[in-house]
């Protein structure tokens, strides 16, 4: 092993873009956040669970869902963490700004948790069960970024 430079070959700067289908339930959800600042879930006709994000099928009951119900926009922190270590965000290729609040939000009327940023200006308020509201983006395009983040309102 005289020349250690020959041990590793780098893959270079090549990029591979993808195109992901959101599906019809997700598309409706995003149309509502974009046009009406409303959060919508889908309700299972069998077990009654309300799913956010919506997904067309209740995996537990394995039945189709087509009943829409409005959820939130208020909710509570179901669980959370505060990310403090720097890492490369594969979605952007750049270092993710840290620290940031990672919330699993239990929106009023929903049975699942919705993942989003939590404002951590006052870390002492970030607790499981804390009441939160969404802060809507001015320019909404029909993505998860239509909400900028959630903030504690207690």
């Amino acid at each position: 092993m005289a020349d250690k430079d020959q041990l590793i070959i780098e893959s270079g700067e090549a990029a591979q873009p993808f195109k992901y289908a959101v599906g019809m339930p997700g598309s409706k959800f995003f149309a509502e956040t974009r046009d009406n600042k409303r959060l919508m879930g889908e309700k299972c006709p069998k077990c009654g669970r309300v799913y956010v994000p919506p997904r067309g099928i209740c995996g537990k009951c394995y039945v189709k869902m087509d009943e829409w119900v409005e959820v939130g926009p208020l909710g509570v922190i179901g669980t959370f963490t505060i990310l403090r270590f720097a890492f490369i965000d594969p979605e952007t290729g750049h270092q993710k700004p840290v620290p940031y609040g990672y919330g699993f939000i239990k929106l009023d009327g929903a049975d699942t948790l919705y993942q989003h940023y939590i404002n951590i200006e006052d870390e002492s308020k970030i607790k499981i069960g804390a009441r939160v509201e969404p802060v809507w983006a001015e320019n909404r395009k029909g993505t998860t970024r239509d909400i900028e983040y959630f903030r504690v309102i207690d």
């Binding site: 092993m1 250690k4 041990l7 590793i8 893959s11 993808f18 992901y20 959101v22 997700g26 799913y51 956010v52 994000p53 997904r55 995996g59 179901g78 669980t79 959370f80 963490t81 505060i82 990310l83 403090r84 270590f85 890492f87 490369i88 965000d89 594969p90 979605e91 993710k96 940031y100 990672y102 919330g103 699993f104 699942t112 948790l113 919705y114 993942q115 989003h116 940023y117 607790k127 499981i128 069960g129 998860t144 970024r145």
Partner: protein
């Protein structure tokens, strides 16, 4: 024709953070050669190969294809299994199914990873939903931190309780020459190490590792001819939950509970705490050492911290957990679940050397994946009925 299945040989690399001296097939070959030597078999004796890793870590797919010079798969049936973090345990369950079906007599099971070849957090992110999960996601650690928060809020556990588990596993690793991190840590060191994602400190969580593991499984027709005291696979279980990360119950691992109930009920284990002699758990961070032994039914909800502090899971305790040092000491991800299986097998076979637990009758090994999946195997000294 269904056959009983035994593990008759195991092999591992000496796991390290970086192995630039070997490529994928070479690191695989190191583990395979050791497993063949352990079972005193030649590659020509092997009827089929099951191999896997999390192939997005290296960005090279088709390990079943390109690894054959190293794996020994030239002109043999080779199948790939890849199920995220559970890959290694799913490989073991897949090998068990292949031999148990009666279609193959001797199967070589291989799990491997070279985490040094890419960015682990970036690669893990590609396993999650691009629309709903990735915006806030920060690799494996963010979900684990959310689980720990949920557990602490529910049961009043502290970060000192978590740290105690790290201290245990890092101490155990001192007995395992294959482990990557072989340096003891103190409670104070764990709690003073950088906070990565509340409440997880650097020393609460697994490292990134290059390594490989191979296990040879044989049917009851030949197992005891190959190995006088093989490790019999009594039962396996697997449970997959979750579509999106927000669907999980943060603070309880339901998939672990279901796997344990299925296995213990089928085998007739009523008091797992007394009837199981050792556990090799896929425990990627310290708090899982508390939460998941409760879900496994070893102790009741909220009882794990007391059980751990009393030394019950230390070497020499009532039920030693992770004599190998576990995942906190070593994590070549696609191999990790299979290493748990191999370590449990070594305990049953009496081959665990410096980390041997005396008189092991039953051992449990598990696999865990970031989507809150669990795989579980029950290993036993006696041939199952």
């Amino acid at each position: 024709m269904a056959k009983r299945v035994a593990i008759v040989g195991t092999g591992q690399t000496f796991h390290k953070s970086h192995r630039p001296d070997v490529n994928g097939q070479e690191i695989i070959n190191e583990a395979v050669q050791r497993a063949l030597a352990d079972a005193d078999l030649k590659i020509k004796d092997i009827d089929a190969i099951v191999i896997g890793n999390m192939d997005h870590f290296e960005g090279i797919n088709y390990v079943d294809c390109w690894s054959v010079d190293g794996s020994g798969g030239v002109m043999k049936p080779v199948i790939k299994i890849t199920t995220g973090g559970t890959t290694g345990a799913s490989l073991a369950i897949g090998g068990n199914h292949m031999v148990g079906s009666g279609m193959f007599e001797k199967v070589l099971v291989i799990g491997w990873e070279k985490n040094s070849e890419s960015d682990t957090t970036g690669a893990i992110t590609t396993a999650f939903d691009p629309i709903w999960d990735r915006q806030v996601f920060a690799g494996a650690i963010s979900g684990l931190a959310a689980e720990a928060q949920g557990y602490m809020a529910r049961y009043g556990a502290s970060d000192r309780d978590g740290a105690r588990v790290s201290v245990r596993d890092r101490k155990h690793a001192m007995n395992n020459p294959h482990a990557q991190l072989r340096k003891e840590v103190t409670l104070e060191e764990v709690l003073a190490s950088p906070m990565l994602a509340d409440p997880i400190h650097l020393l609460d969580v697994c490292p990134r590792t290059d390594g490989a593991c191979a296990v040879i499984m044989a049917s009851e027709d030949v197992a005891e001819k190959i190995c006088p005291k093989p490790d019999w696979i009594w039962k396996t279980a697997a449970r997959h939950s979750y579509a999106y990360l927000g669907d999980a119950d943060y603070g309880r691992l339901v998939s672990m509970e279901r796997c344990a109930k299925e296995i213990f009920q089928k085998v007739g284990i009523k008091e797992p705490r007394k009837e199981i002699d050792v556990i090799e758990m896929y425990q990627p961070y310290s708090f899982a050492g508390l939460i998941w032994i409760e879900d496994m039914g070893i102790v009741g909800p909220g009882e794990a911290p007391g059980y751990i502090w009393d030394g019950n899971t230390d070497m020499g305790g009532e039920l030693p957990v992770n004599p190998s040092g576990g995942v906190i000491s070593c994590n070549p991800i696609g191999a990790t679940g299979l290493i748990r299986c191999a370590e449990a097998a070594m305990q049953v076979m009496g081959k665990a050397e410096g980390r041997q637990v005396p008189d092991v009758n039953f051992a449990v090994s598990t696999g865990f994946g970031g989507c809150w999946w669990t795989d579980m195997l029950l290993h036993g000294k006696k041939k199952p009925n």
